[in-house]
């Protein structure tokens, strides 16, 4: 299929950005969205132009590195996936696709579609852990945990730290990201005490201040 892409290009954090239009041809419906961008980049490199900078690494939906607002939606039109798992069969020949970076004051743009998500690391560093040192730990089965709690805890722990929630929230709130960690810990006897600390810390985190947190 042939597509028209409107892509946000921005030299660096300070520079003025703008949308630039590109055409790509003969894209296979079986290729992934990022592979489609690879093809575009290959075209640009062959014309000695700067390729589009975007974040990605695992390309299987788990590392949380990829981002992108596609046609006005974080991670694009499909449900329950990340951008790297999005496939071109979700689009049709002749489509115009608008591609933007995460837009949030908590995530400054680095270049083109890449943003800085250090704020998430900062939250985790200020309390997103259970305080245990390496070694000297009692046997793993010494405290049974109900399967139900453990499963619910796992549901919350599955957060990949991508930042789509922040990008989507019009107040740029990190509520969902923080509450995922809080719930994971609160459901486990090991984490109950410290779950409170992280929720307090998140509340003080200026980058993501929104009405819900006060």
């Amino acid at each position: 299929m042939n597509l028209t892409l409107k892509i946000w290009r921005q030299e660096n954090e300070k520079a003025q950005g703008k949308f630039v239009t590109y055409e790509v041809k003969d894209i296979s419906p079986d290729s992934s969205f990022l592979e489609m961008l690879d093809i575009l980049n290959e075209q640009l490199v062959n014309k000695i132009q700067l390729p589009i900078a975007f974040d990605h690494d695992c390309r299987e939906g788990i590392c949380g590195m990829c981002s992108l607002y596609i046609n006005g939606r974080a991670h694009g039109p499909d449900e329950g996936i990340t951008t790297c798992q999005l496939h071109m069969r979700k689009f049709s020949d002749g489509d115009i696709i608008t591609i933007e970076p995460w837009r949030s004051r908590g995530f400054p743009i680095i270049k083109d579609l890449m943003v800085n998500r250090d704020a998430f690391d900062n939250i985790m560093q200020s309390g997103g852990y259970i305080s245990v040192n390496t070694g000297g730990i009692p046997d793993a089965n010494s405290i049974p945990i109900s399967k139900e709690n453990s499963d619910l805890s796992m549901d919350a722990a599955a957060c990949i730290g991508c930042g789509a929630c922040v990008a989507t929230c019009k107040n740029s709130s990190a509520m969902l990201f923080v509450s995922a960690k809080v719930s994971q810990f609160a459901l486990l006897p090991q984490g109950r005490t410290e779950a409170k600390i992280i929720s307090n810390i998140a509340r003080m985190n200026r980058e993501f201040l929104c009405a819900n947190f006060s």
């Binding site: 299987e60 788990i62 070694g135 399967k147 994971q184 486990l188």
Partner: protein
């Protein structure tokens, strides 16, 4: 040819590690603060090491190329982690885990290291639970286990299909805690460019800030590499896009021997290749082989119809299916080790029974498991994997069998290290997948996570102290020393050289060619002719790279093409050494299958008399032949046998 000293402590196998710890040198708390340790990598090995050494009071600097430590490639591990807990009471023990790992590695791993690995495995699970990792549990509230290939017991702990993610987030949280306590300084989006040697010891690194392009140096009393595996030499693999050999390769060029480069693992259950636009391959976890059955059509005519889209696999009758693993290996069935399963798939496809348009695919079928256990149970066990598969292929694996084919997945080879995990450069330690140590010629499933965390939590924090104990008198060095400046200058020269080629080809186009050469000749089956061909082909690719590469943009800003280029430069050199290593190893062992050396039944045939060693290659300089050193392996506690998964 020198014989290497692996510094394995004396005494009985079962006591070596305890004895070592009892007698090693330690650093007192006041001195720990004066010692800097550089750790490159934040995967399971790097993050666990950085956190543990920070807790002990050392001054740690930790680096990764991603935007956050939590995104290291370990995050993608799906299936599970082994430990010898014997919770299911099915006869497991430290010895049995040790035995299975050495046997699974086709008797090419160091006994003492593997025994230590099995010994510390249980503590990893305890550690993870204390960190708040929600491992799978049974209804009684105790931890659950599943089975992985190459074992007759259930010893694999898991967190749905995201075990690597949960273990890494555990280590990342411990690391975050130390960053908060200021014992660890974290550098994201920073890539190692070279290692600095002062008076014969590793004393620092040169890095490039990937956002600004700035080159700078960092000092450390010791340097630890935890930079993962080199599967991406094949271009297509299950590794993350940025996974690279460069850090290990720089270490190699600075004097660290590189061991068994030809031992790479081909994972039997990945989603098959679809087109030349494809950028990576996706693994379908080995855990699926607990319940999935692998088959191809019994008749070539059926296979042909399936390839042409005229026949659906669901409609093929039981008697027309060839469950070839169950047929060939009745004892282990679908749970044979990875190398065996991969070769068996290749054998069927080469013989004309493959599915998919390309003929390169086999089925992984859950029909009988769904009938036996119900769709719900299968969904609970593998839900996220089925979803991932559906998104990529547009098929529904609850209704039609998955299509799979082997793909490059893991590198058993890596930087040679001794018992203390130190390379042949003093003060340069290598942990996790980046070293060669524990898996011999083939790694068993769920044991890479175990090794990464064993190295980082429980081994390195001891052994590095034995080295650092006599370094307390060494003051922190200024990075303006000539050794640092020289290394920085060399890095800048390299980058200039790459940018000034100004040829016509993109990095990826050359990388893809390298990948095809490697897969065809240094992949699942190798032979002398093919390997010689690969050596020639890589030579010409190297020339193409250095004369016809085109990198747009600048050195001093974010430049993803430049990043890919310097990584590919090292992959090209590694590829050459892999072919050379494979050519020198005139035997088949584990993942290294030389067609000339097989039994009548097509199984790998080792030559124990001549090849019971790890081949450690020394870099001799540009355009010079590598020099071979042998780390001779001896088995005192295990009887070396032909691996048999039939009975």
């Amino acid at each position: 040819m020198a014989i290497l000293n692996s510094k394995v402590p004396g005494g009985k196998l079962f006591d070596k590690w305890t004895e070592y710890k009892n007698h090693q040198n330690l650093v007192n708390p006041a001195n720990k603060r004066k010692l800097d340790i550089i750790i490159v990598g934040t995967g399971l090995a790097g993050a666990s090491a950085a956190a543990s050494l920070g807790e002990l009071g050392f001054k740690v600097k930790n680096f990764c190329y991603q935007d956050s430590a939590r995104r290291a490639h370990s995050i993608a591990a799906q299936g599970g982690i082994n430990a010898a807990k014997n919770y299911p009471n099915d006869g497991d023990s430290v010895y049995r885990l040790f035995y299975d790992t050495v046997k699974g590695g086709d008797y090419r791993a160091r006994e003492s290291n593997v025994y230590r690995l099995a010994e510390v495995s249980n503590s990893i699970i305890d550690q993870g639970v204390a960190q708040g990792i929600p491992f799978a549990r049974d209804y009684g509230g105790l931890l659950d286990n599943r089975s992985f290939g190459g074992a007759l017991v259930s010893r694999t702990f898991y967190a749905r299909g995201q075990t690597g993610q949960q273990l890494l987030l555990g280590a990342y949280s411990a690391l975050s805690r130390q960053i908060n306590k200021k014992t660890v300084d974290m550098y994201n989006r920073t890539e190692l460019m070279d290692i600095v040697i002062v008076d014969g010891r590793a004393r620092g690194i040169v890095v490039r800030n990937l956002v600004t392009g700035k080159i700078e140096s960092h000092f450390g009393h010791a340097v630890v590499l935890a930079t993962g595996g080199y599967g991406n030499v094949f271009f297509l693999s299950t590794n993350a896009m940025g996974s690279n050999v460069s850090a290990a390769w720089k270490a190699h060029k600075k004097g660290s021997y590189f061991a068994n480069p030809c031992f790479v693992q081909i994972h039997p259950t990945c989603i098959p290749v679809h087109g030349d636009f494809q950028s990576k391959l996706t693994l379908m976890s080995e855990s699926l082989r607990n319940d999935g059955r692998i088959w191809v059509p019994k008749k070539k005519s059926d296979a042909e119809k399936i390839r042409k889209g005229q026949l659906k696999p669901e409609s093929l009758k039981e008697e027309d299916r060839d469950y070839y693993l169950e047929r060939r290996y009745p004892a282990f069935g679908n749970l044979v080790p990875r190398d065996v399963a991969s070769r068996a798939a290749k054998e069927r496809c080469d013989a004309g029974f493959g599915i998919e348009k390309t003929g390169k695919g086999v089925y992984l079928d859950f029909k009988s498991a769904i009938e036996r256990l119900g769709k719900n149970t299968i969904e609970q066990r593998y839900g996220n994997l089925f979803q991932m598969y559906g998104k990529i292929t547009d098929d529904n694996p609850y209704e039609t069998p998955m299509k799979i084919y082997p793909a490059i997945h893991y590198s058993m080879g890596g930087v040679w290290v001794d018992y203390e995990l130190m390379s042949t450069v003093k003060g340069l330690f290598v942990v996790g997948e980046a070293n060669f140590s524990d898996h011999g010629a083939n790694r068993l499933g769920a044991s890479a996570l175990m090794q990464g965390l064993a190295d980082g939590y429980f081994v390195l924090p001891y052994t590095i102290q034995n080295y650092l104990a006599d370094q307390i008198g060494v003051a922190r060095m200024d990075t303006n020393l000539p050794e640092f400046k020289k290394a920085e200058k060399d890095v800048k020269l390299l980058l200039d050289k790459l940018m000034s080629i100004k040829g016509k080809r993109s990095v990826d186009s050359i990388h893809k060619e390298l990948g095809i050469t490697m897969w065809d000749n240094v992949g699942m089956a190798r032979n002398k002719k093919g390997l010689e061909l690969a050596l020639e082909k890589i030579k010409s690719l190297k020339k193409e790279f250095w004369t016809n590469l085109r990198i747009p943009g600048e050195i001093n800003s974010l430049n993803t093409e430049l990043e890919k280029a310097y990584r590919l430069a090292d992959f090209l050199e590694l590829g050459e050494l892999m072919a050379k290593d494979a050519l020198h190893r005139d035997e088949s062992s584990g993942g290294h299958f030389r067609e000339e050396y097989q039994t009548d039944e097509g199984e790998a045939k080792r030559d124990d008399k001549n090849f019971t060693y790890a081949a450690a290659w020394e870099y001799a300089g540009e355009n010079k032949e590598h020099i071979l050193h042998k780390d001779v392996l001896s088995y005192e506690n295990i009887e070396v046998k032909q691996r048999n998964y039939k009975k």
